[in-house]
């Protein structure tokens, strides 16, 4: 039974990485922006955060460094996409290609590096409950903060005027512009926030989750986070659910290996990617369902006055 509690705990842990990144990408997409650079931002943030912890010993500084790296890279992306009107897909791809190369380049001296042992995270009393305690209450504070953030995002998007404005920009930037909203600045803001969250996710990965630096360690999590927004039909609560589900699939592969199931390890390693493909196909199969939920201007450029 204990192993199941640990599986759930590990699932939450792995799901948090995906959830933070995916919620960030969701904010982008609600403003009509698709950033295929998620993988690159997460990689650079992972090494930035990790290096920061190695040098300062402070996790918080690591998270800040990761988020700042993500936001900075997103700003470059945003500058090109929002102000120079470049193709969002190509620019995002460039960001990922650059980030993959740059993180490997910058991280070359940190491959063997260790970061200090950290205390066990546990919520007093709650964590002592049998089964439930180890499963749910032995997590890093960011795991809980992510849930809180998702709830906050729901409130922001659907209950506040600012959220409505953000969605209007993703729905029809032309109309939002005609009503006098600064569409490009709003998009830029959304891109930076999204980048910071992807960065935070990358930093969480290298500082808490693994915790070490390996070249290419994000291993497609940025892309899975992108797929999750479609999976969730652009609803924050479903993003969270999907993230834990995929975290579970990732963990299942280790669990099965641990239990000694007779399947080649490579086949198990395929699981998260295959699951993404299957789920994507399943969710997308009804174009109408997608059409009614997708921010209408997603991926489309906007340049006022043309």
């Amino acid at each position: 039974m204990d192993s199941y509690a640990l599986l759930i705990a590990a699932t939450l842990n792995a799901g948090t990485v995906l959830a933070i990144a995916s919620l960030g990408l969701l904010i982008n997409e609600k403003a009509g922006i698709v950033n295929l650079g998620a993988e690159g931002m997460m990689l650079c943030a992972a090494i930035a955060g990790f290096a920061c912890v190695v040098h300062t010993g402070s996790d918080t500084m690591g998270f800040v460094a990761g988020a700042a790296t993500g936001a900075l890279m997103a700003a470059v992306f945003g500058g090109l996409v929002v102000w120079l009107n470049t193709n969002q897909y190509a620019t995002g791809l460039a960001l990922t290609l650059f980030g993959t190369g740059f993180s490997a380049f910058a991280g070359i001296n940190y491959v063997q590096a260790q970061i200090p042992e950290r205390p066990d995270f546990a919520i007093p009393y709650l964590s002592d409950i049998p089964l439930v305690g180890p499963a749910l209450f032995h997590q890093h504070p960011l795991v809980y903060l992510t849930v809180v953030f998702a709830l906050g995002l729901i409130w922001f998007l659907y209950r506040t005027r600012s959220g409505l404005i953000l969605r209007s920009v993703g729905e029809s930037p032309e109309s939002a512009h005609a009503l006098g909203y600064p569409v490009r600045w709003i998009r830029m803001g959304a891109i930076m926030v999204g980048g910071a969250l992807c960065g935070l996710a990358g930093a969480y990965l290298s500082i808490i989750y693994t915790p070490l630096w390996v070249e290419g360690m994000v291993a497609g999590k940025g892309w899975i986070a992108l797929a999750l927004t479609t999976f969730a039909t652009w609803r924050p609560a479903r993003v969270l659910l999907g993230a834990y589900l995929f975290g579970g699939v990732t963990m299942l592969q280790f669990h099965l290996q641990g239990v000694g199931v007779e399947v080649p390890s490579q086949v198990l390693s395929m699981l998260p990617y295959l699951a993404t493909i299957v789920v994507l196909a399943f969710i997308s199969r009804n174009p109408r369902w997608i059409r009614i939920n997708i921010p209408a201007a997603m991926g489309k450029p906007f340049y006022p006055g043309s």
């Binding site: 005027r161 409505l164 404005i165 969605r167 209007s168 729905e171 029809s172 032309e174 109309s175 939002a176 512009h177 005609a178 009503l179 006098g180 909203y181 109408r288 059409r291 009614i292 209408a296 006055g305």
Partner: protein
């Protein structure tokens, strides 16, 4: 004399290719309904965008109630009592009416906004449910949302850009009542239009624009259509040559075509019956968004889901055939959107021929055939010359042409193919008067040569001018056909709201 509500002095605005406004001055008094008249491309919309703050003038002054103003964006315009109802609505499909209105207002809460929508709607008879999603509304209802949104900012000056192009004649009358009530309450109205009779009926002052310059200021009630037209285009509208209609055999017959919408935001078609014969121009009138798009796609072949036997050309059942196959049978189609559907914006005029023409293709089996580049260019050159199209040559890209010239090119491309049936959607939408007259002339000449022509248009005047017979489409249903001699604006207007009797159906069956 009272202070004018709005005064423009020497407004000039130039774009890279064109001077949109050159030294334009205009004065609107409080409570006045002031028309800005001009044909497409005369610079009306740019002028309104300048007043509303979405464009900055290169030179000139704007005075509001005697004060010089700098209006830098629409928010400032609204704060200064200027409201605007756009021609292309600035609404968000997946949001509710209340949310849409809320986005156009400075503060307040959603609850307050909902309450004030209901109040305004009652006050002006603009029936609207604030909780409905915008994509479920008809075009007329959407305009009401735009108007309410503008009214809630308590404007002293309301700008309406071509507001009647989306309305039935009866709905136009209702709109005029609202506008007169507003004017009597002291609100000034700037009314943009190119429809002379509307301006003469509604407005008490008028500024006429031609090619960016003011060519006349007058009281339209004292003018005639002819005199207004002279100010607007410098001449009286060119007359069309009409010959008697000699309708031949049916070229296309549509029988009981019902089609569920393909798109969440679309319209279902219900039991459409339609017949177009050789040598006649048949029109389909209707307010946009009533199924025109869906019907056109089913006829052109872009939508091949039509049930077996419902769309026939001569003996051939074409309901399942794609546009290229229908083209082989002589069906050519001029779509409503010029850039992006009728032509690829970034490709040259010559290359754009390849969308629907195959004359310059040889070896038709391998990889779709070999493109003979020289012949293609010659072909394009020929069209440009014959139809007097202003273009840099066959290699200029489609998007570098003006709207009128590109439309002429697309119409030329299809007419030049000697079609048996030509379907044209909005033949002169957004096109200057000269080009419009030329296009209508070409359509009539094609008819006289024995081609069947189907014209779908929202401009009733245009349909009355060129059609021999007319249908009306409303909520995805098609009315019986009515010969043009029996059609009146009132009758067609009623039909546009879906109110046609079934007795009319039997009597019109002979057509």
């Amino acid at each position: 004399m009272a202070t004018p509500r709005l005064e423009l002095k020497g407004i000039t605005k130039a774009f890279p290719a064109v001077v949109a406004n050159s030294n334009v001055s205009l004065t609107v008094m409080p409570g006045e309904i002031h028309a800005v008249l001009g044909e497409n491309g005369a610079g009306k919309s740019t002028l309104m965008k300048i007043i509303y703050g979405s464009q900055m003038p290169d030179a000139g002054q704007i005075l509001l109630n005697g004060q010089v103003m700098q209006i830098r964006n629409p928010k400032e315009a609204r704060a200064n009592g200027i409201g605007m109802v756009f021609q292309h609505f600035n609404l968000f499909d997946t949001m509710t009416v209340a949310e849409n209105v809320w986005l156009g207002l400075a503060r307040a809460s959603l609850e307050q906004v909902t309450a004030s929508i209901v109040a305004k709607a009652a006050e002006y008879g603009l029936d609207t449910d604030p909780r409905r999603l915008v994509h479920t509304l008809s075009v007329g209802e959407r305009q009401r949302v735009e108007i309410i949104r503008a009214l809630l900012t308590r404007p002293e000056l309301l700008i309406l850009d071509e507001p009647t192009s989306v309305l039935t004649p009866q709905a136009v009358e209702k709109l005029f009542l609202v506008l007169r009530k507003l004017s009597s309450e002291g609100c000034s109205i700037l009314y943009i239009s190119h429809k002379l009779h509307e301006i003469r009926e509604l407005c008490t002052a008028c500024t006429v624009l031609r090619a960016g310059k003011v060519t006349g200021v007058c009281n339209p009630k004292e003018e005639t259509n002819a005199s207004l037209s002279r100010m607007m285009i410098g001449a009286e509208p060119p007359l069309l040559e009409h010959h008697e209609c000699k309708a031949g055999a049916a070229t296309m017959v549509v029988k009981n075509l019902s089609l569920e919408r393909d798109d969440q935001f679309g319209v279902d078609l219900h039991e459409i019956n339609l017949r177009v014969c050789a040598g006649e121009v048949v029109g389909i009138a209707g307010v946009s968004g009533n199924g025109q798009k869906e019907l056109l796609y089913a006829l052109s072949g872009e939508d091949t889901r039509a049930p077996h036997g419902s769309v026939c050309m001569g003996e051939a059942d074409v309901s399942g055939r794609d546009p290229a196959e229908r083209r082989c049978l002589g069906l050519h189609f001029v779509p409503e959107e010029r850039l992006g559907r009728g032509a690829v914006p970034t490709l040259s005029l010559a290359q754009n021929l390849l969308l629907t023409r195959t004359e310059s293709i040889s070896m038709p089996r391998c990889a779709g055939g070999w493109i003979r580049v020289k012949e293609l260019a010659t072909h394009a050159e020929r069209l440009i010359e014959h139809f007097h199209i202003k273009a840099g040559g066959p290699n200029s890209v489609a998007r570098s042409l003006s709207g009128g010239n590109l439309q002429k090119y697309i119409v030329a491309r299809e007419i030049d193919a000697n079609p048996k049936l030509l379907i044209v959607s909005q033949p002169t939408w957004g096109v200057d008067v000269g080009a419009a007259a030329q296009i209508r002339g070409e359509i009539l000449r094609l008819r006289d040569k024995g081609c069947a022509v189907l014209v779908v248009s929202e401009e009733l005047d245009e349909l009355f001018e060129i059609c021999d017979r007319m249908y009306v489409i409303a909520r995805g249903k098609l009315s019986p056909s009515i010969p043009i001699a029996e059609a009146t604006v009132e009758k067609i207007g009623e039909w546009m709201s879906g109110l046609w009797s079934n007795s009319a159906a039997s009597e019109a069956h002979h057509a």
